[in-house]
Symmetry: C2
Subunit: 187 residues, 2 copies
């Protein structure tokens, strides 16, 4: 488990106040859904063919200037008072979109379920598709990118209590840009 419990500041490619970011006025990441909204009961979330789940709200965002763009989020587990120590979210990156290039202490587990995309992890780029699974280790810089024509969708599992993502510093970014991977990065 992570020893940082800075949950109110945790991130995940999405803002706390949708309207602020929708208007481009803030890049402050506040991705955690409000806890305690539910009662920790067992639940079934039927999948719907448009890659949403019955009973799970879909959130859509577009922020070109905040290090990420064109991402939808569905929080399947983690926002309804569940006692699990981990959250399950579904993210979908539109064609041409990407997540922020970032690092953090908490781990990511990513399972691709829709389309294809590029996963940049610690200086390597992996093209990934259906059910390919990624483990992203603490503090490995990473970015998920959709250079393709179809939506790129994946589950992302994280600890419920997690640290706030950080951008790369200038030196780290410089080293990454200098590699073959640099051409794959999105600003």
């Amino acid at each position: 488990m992570n020893d940082t419990k800075n949950r109110p500041g945790s991130c995940d490619w999405l803002p706390e106040d949708n309207r602020e970011v929708a208007t481009g006025s803030s890049c402050d990441w506040q991705g955690s859904p409000s806890a305690g909204a539910g009662d920790n009961r067992s639940a079934v979330y039927p999948f719907q063919n448009d890659y949403t789940w019955q009973g799970v709200e879909q959130e859509r965002y577009k922020a070109e200037d905040c290090g990420w763009s064109d991402i939808a989020r569905n929080v399947l587990v983690g926002g309804r008072g569940e006692s699990a120590g981990f959250d399950l979210r579904y993210f979908e990156i539109a064609p041409g979109g990407h997540s922020s290039l970032e690092k953090h202490v908490h781990e990511h587990v990513v399972i691709v379920i829709r389309g294809r995309g590029n996963a940049l992890i610690a200086g390597e780029v992996h093209e990934v598709g259906f059910l390919d699974t990624l483990y992203i280790s603490p503090d490995d810089p990473h970015q998920l990118i959709n250079p393709f024509a179809d939506p790129f969708g994946f589950f992302c599992i994280v600890s419920h209590d997690r640290d706030r993502p950080r951008p790369l510093d200038r030196d780290e970014l410089g080293r990454l840009v200098a590699t073959a991977v640099g051409s794959k990065l999105r600003p």
Copy 2:
């Protein structure tokens, strides 16, 4: 998080010593993979069309007398020294097979990715299929059953440190059998 950390005794439908159970000589559950085998590096596990993952060992078991039957397990995250507080496993139940009917303090999150099956949770039965997602709350009795002709495969996410599953006591089992759900149970 769970406050029980009885990890060496944790379960998950599979035994520690495969050979013992393969010969039917033990029903002792010891499902956790050995930790510390890896180095906590980021990793990519490409999906293969037979529902295995490159770099992930598949374990197959058959034990008719242990409360479960005909289950394959792939531990994608949790057995290689990862620091994540949760494990990601893929289970596949053969036609006619089922998991044990059990309860435990730790939560399950289940994502179906292959075929269809029945999920019995706390007195209700849900027929589930592709990408349907379940949250199973602490101490809710549950069983996953494949009454269909094709394999029933699903991811199951659990806390890495978790308590040992327990069978239902006679009264609980009696109440469950007395319900409409009773006819769906597997012994």
